[in-house]
Amino acid sequence: MAAEDKETSKNAGPGAASDAGKRTATDSPVEATADSPEEATADSPEEAAPQMLTVASSPHVRSGESTSRIMWTVFACLLPAAGWSVYLFGMKAAIVLATCTGGAVVIESLVQYFTRGRTSVQDGSAALTGLLLALTLPPGASVVICLVGAFVGVVVAKAVFGGLGHNPFNPALTARVFLLIAFPGPMTRWPIPLQALADKPQKLYGQSTSWLDAAGRSLDFANAKTGAALHSLAAKVDVITAATPLAVAKEHWKRGTGELTTYSDYFVGSMPGSLGEVSVILLLLGAAVLLIRGYISWHIPVSFLLGVIVMAGLTHLANPTRYMDPIFHLLTGGVIIGAFFMATDYVTSPTYPLGMVIFGLGCGLLTMIIRLWGGFPEGVSFAILIMNACTPIIERYTRPTRYGLKPWAEPEAS
């Protein structure tokens, strides 16, 4: 059982006992004896009956959670935000959501078939990857883009490394960054939620949706904010694209032009953006469920947001005309979905509280560095991927010492 020990000790240190219980990879050493140790992390069939007289290493307290249960809960927590995006952007958003999620599941099944069961589609991780990916895409993404993204997420980012539990990078974000480089045009075309605007222009929208004014001007509508004008606009054109608030902000400080929407717009999502970044409030709702059920701990999201706030606050204080304030940076882009749903991915983030805080702060600071001085207007996905790469080294230096050992001592060779 030496190899087994290694697997479990990696995750189940004393400091993380409560957490490790939920790290489903390690909570089933009993069943894992049937498999080779490497696969133990990948598939741990919950339904296997406990056998008599099997000797297993810690943890011995089982929480009754399983990979698939956690995955499907997270999936469900994302559904309100996904539904909202369908309401805002219409059929286009529904197609993106369906192709990404369905595509990921189908591709995972194919991988399972070809690798003779070394990954498992039942654990729900593929469906979650697909949904998360869909939420990072612009509503107008084509079917081809969605399928390529699902392939990259499931095969290149996960299966190639040995399946769930072995992937060094968050699969959904890897896929998104791949798509961003692969399809730079379509991936940066953000449609305005036009039809939804037309139905409830006053209720949904604040007073200063300036991009809408600009869109109306370009199509010779004097006042594009009234319902009738919006209806005829929506009937006249397929789609109007506009820059996301972050892109506008970036132009703003570079050239001193461009107007921004109000914060209430950001909160309900009446702005151009990817499916999952348009509704902060519904994402927070889903995140609250995860926090209450204990599926994610507060460390990573809070330190992530803190990193963003500190960085944005300092730059805003230094030069308020050039840099936007922290609230703007929290409400726009993918900070919320990234902090609560992506950075907290068990496999690719540190295990111990101190490591989590370092990880989260790193994500927040990198996000802001990319947003303020980088080439792209949005930096959440890059920041999380970079910190994913740093996870092993953070883990190495934040591992709690075992009782009786000197702090920072090298772990004994077992």
């Binding site: 730079p184 045009g185 940066t188 075309r189 001007r217 050239r255």
Partner: protein, 267 residues
């Protein structure tokens, strides 16, 4: 690996026939080493010198043909060779620019300049390209001072703005080579530094929604701005040197161009 074994055997077979063990010592003598190197490098040098002599003209011709090809793309049918009929002028910023002139022989024997090709690069641009250098060849109608537009030999519309060199991101900035982007420049001229004669501004529509006339490539605004400025610079060179270009070094007495228009379409 049967081949390796066999190779070794071959090596051993070959060794005694050529250099025996007695010869091994002499093989390592410094003189022998130096001599070998001198001979090898000498033979290599001689071979390359010969090859250079054989290919030199051909390479020069290929380079000239390449230049002529991009010039020809922006000029109508000429009765002269524009590369040979080039003059050097000063740009408004003071750098030296070569202007390639295209003449059309008239029935009366004169050959006025009907169009010119001017190449400009992004060097010194206010709007820098995204990466590397952009070079653009611009064809200007000598009678109107406007960027030429014409039908190309495939019969479709084209504009005399040709990207000679560009190292922008493929798929984004590289779309500056597409007609969809370049067509914005067709028939544009330059008056007053940054205006066209019909009051438009030399800017992308993104920077100036009312007056700008260039539709920026989606996702590559930086490249669009850079190319716009380069084309504008080429027109500025034309504006500053119109007289010299039209009159200097004429092979026929200066005459006002007659009304006969040159044929834009190539047969």
């Amino acid at each position: 690996m049967p081949d390796t074994k066999e190779a070794k055997k071959l090596d051993q077979d070959a060794a005694p026939t050529t250099d025996g063990s007695a010869e091994q010592a002499s093989q390592d003598s410094p003189m022998r080493l130096v001599a070998t190197l001198i001979i090898v490098t000498g033979v290599a040098g001689a071979a390359l010198a010969g090859a250079n002599a054989l290919t030199k003209d051909r390479i020069a011709a290929a380079k000239a043909a390449k230049k002529l090809a991009s010039i020809k793309k922006v000029l109508p049918r000429c009765s002269n060779n524009p590369v040979k009929d080039a003059i050097k002028v000063k740009s408004p910023k003071g750098s030296e620019v070569e202007v390639y002139r295209c003449r059309s022989r008239q029935p009366d024997g004169s050959a006025p300049v009907v169009a010119v090709a001017i190449q400009q690069s992004s060097t010194g641009n206010r709007h820098k390209p995204y990466s590397g250098l952009i070079q653009v060849m611009v064809g200007i109608d000598a009678r109107t001072g406007k960027v030429r537009s014409f039908k190309n030999n495939k019969g479709s519309d084209d504009v005399a703005v040709v990207i000679v060199k560009l190292s922008e991101t493929p798929g984004l900035g590289s779309k500056a080579q597409d007609y969809d982007f370049r067509k914005a420049f067709a028939g544009r001229d330059l008056v007053d530094k940054d205006r066209t004669s019909d009051g438009k501004l030399w800017a992308t529509r993104k920077d100036n929604p009312q007056l700008g006339f260039v539709d920026a490539i989606s996702g590559a605004t930086i490249t669009s701005r850079a190319v716009t400025e380069i084309v504008q610079k080429a027109l500025a060179v034309w504006n500053a040197n119109k007289k010299i270009i039209l009159t200097k070094g004429l092979d026929a007495p200066p005459k006002r161009p007659t009304t006969t228009p040159t044929r834009e379409k190539r047969p």
